[in-house]
Symmetry: C2
Subunit: 355 residues, 2 copies
């Protein structure tokens, strides 16, 4: 027998040993039957019966230790309240699930320590791979990423030579598309509400905005630029500050949350959208379509980026020797009521409506 303990007492979870003993076969046979590989009809019957009787359910931890796989994929995003990540997550989840794996989401809250802690955790092999979408990337962040023992795919801009699988989009170009559209519809005093400049997306959008204005020969008015963080409340407050010192005829926002906040302030301050002020958000999330009027928004292909990231990750898990790869998704502009040249005013021009 070799095994001292052979308890069948009810308060202890049954193991394959329990099942094997009850069926009168070896653990090897029991394991084979339970995995559906081999076994004579008689053995199969006995093992199945025994397993059902004791309510056996395999211990995934032990299995993982043996197989060196957990069939789990982690997604780390900084703010799970941002609908853009929800859409990305859904796309990733679809790919991951179709490979028989399970997706786990972890919110880092943007705290960088939290993210490196997470990387260390995953170095512990709790997951088979990870997709991470950092908004700030420091040097040791990067080294932590690239010598992760577990495959990692980064969604977002990364240094060109970083040897890490990477799915990106061109948010500078995205901002330019918004500006082009606004200029084409006759707007000239175009404001910009951005997130922090020390974040990767914040910096890219800022550069994109300045370049786009310059391309149209429009002088930059710093009074028309405001910075908050990437949240709704910040968008509302930033727009409040902006309106206090300037009178834009259009507003570009660094994401849809900010744009939603901007819309709120504009309406509360009696501006008609789009008559007085046109508004364009970014990420083209569900939220943009929830607003009234619906928001024009630059799509950065979040679902597509998620899908591609998941595919890259699965490929790398299948073959870790692959060279680092990079995928790009093109931005596109969804024009909706908030920036259309409306024929009919959508709201009255009434000052200081209470919200």
């Amino acid at each position: 027998m070799g095994r001292k303990r052979l308890q069948e007492s009810a308060d202890v979870r049954p193991t394959v040993h329990t099942v094997a003993a009850r069926a009168g076969v070896s653990i090897a046979s029991a394991s084979r039957v339970l995995n559906g590989v081999g076994g004579s009809p008689e053995t199969v019957r006995k093992v199945r019966e025994a397993a059902a009787e004791v309510g056996y359910v395999p211990n995934a931890i032990a299995r993982s230790l043996q197989s060196q796989r957990t069939e789990l994929i982690a997604l780390a995003v900084e703010d799970i309240g941002n609908p853009v990540y929800v859409e990305m997550m859904r796309a990733i989840e679809a790919v991951v699930a179709s490979s028989g794996r399970q997706l786990l989401v972890h919110a880092t809250g943007g705290r960088i320590d939290n993210e490196t802690a997470l990387l260390r955790r995953l170095a512990n092999r709790y997951v088979d791979g990870m997709i991470v979408s950092p908004i700030r990337v420091t040097a040791d962040h990067l080294t932590a990423l690239q010598d992760s023992p577990v495959p990692v795919v980064v969604v977002g801009q990364l240094a060109a030579d970083a040897p890490v699988d990477n799915v990106r989009t061109d948010s500078r170009r995205g901002i330019a598309m918004a500006v082009d559209h606004l200029v084409a519809t006759g707007r000239r005093r175009i404001g910009f509400v951005n997130g922090p400049l020390d974040t990767v997306p914040g910096a890219a959008r800022d550069a994109g905005f300045r370049a786009a204005l310059a391309a149209h020969g429009i002088a930059l008015d710093e009074n028309l630029i405001e910075i908050g963080d990437f949240q709704y409340a910040a968008g509302r407050d930033a727009t409040e500050r902006l309106l206090a010192r300037a009178e834009p005829d259009a507003l570009v926002c660094a994401n849809d949350l900010i744009a939603a906040g901007a819309l709120h302030t504009l309406l509360a301050r009696g501006r008609r959208v789009p008559i007085d002020v046109a508004l364009v958000g970014m990420d083209d999330t569900e939220l943009a379509r929830m607003m009234f009027p619906q928001l024009s928004s630059v799509s950065l292909g979040s679902a597509e980026r998620g899908r591609r990231a998941a595919e890259l990750l699965l490929q790398r898990i299948a073959d870790p020797s692959l060279p680092p790869r990079r995928a790009s998704v093109e931005p596109s502009l969804a024009v909706r009521a908030s920036s259309a040249q409306a024929q009919v005013p959508a709201q009255p021009s009434r000052e200081e409506v209470t919200s």
Copy 2:
């Protein structure tokens, strides 16, 4: 030595054996030092050095197999796009993190098979405990819950005798608060946009609405009731259908997503909110405050419920012999612009505004 393989080749992750061999001590000593328990100064130095040199990081799977703990908590919700779960998740995450554990989120997509599959997965001991917020609860769902080998806390209504830890709120009472408020502000033709009646929250809200109307002696007009699912688009469409056949002066919605959809349809159909139609949502999420006008909403204390659930779970993990417990959170009503008796019209009465 006993151990055949003792590779130090670079392409294999170092184990405690690698470290021990390099430091010239036994694996027991190495393990002890790495866990900071015992060891002579000399041994400690050698092991620390060796570990640093080979970049040792412990394998959490193996550790979990031994310790029977993973330090992971799972949260399963059906729709991660619903902001109510985001708020709940943030509250849970705070509690879980403060206990040194990590929270993993899993979206079940409401598919019941997915949820039981998840329960089976967690029966596999991948997590130390789980918080689940199911919207449909079947019989075998319940049995799966109650003989889960891992502690489970359910957020939501459950049969009274179900021996499962449970945090609930009184959504019937919540709906009643909304109706009371609307009646008090002079509304009489109160419509209701609900989710599916075969869900637990849908059924409770329906019962609450009917009871509340009856309490006020208002006859129920079935034309004023519409059902979709708990999503934004469904709320929009359901309100469309409702407006096609009735003219409510107020609308109660089963959650804020539905309310956001209802607002969209109301505005697009030229109804002024709150002048013509007052609107009250439910869950009091961020989304309610993002709308313009801001939505009144019945808070079901989602953050509080999350916090309580996490606490119950941690307690049960600490002492699995605890009897099943139940916590309740009282609903409350946040009155905002969408149902205030506004003095100033917030929108013009213009028909068929395009959105």
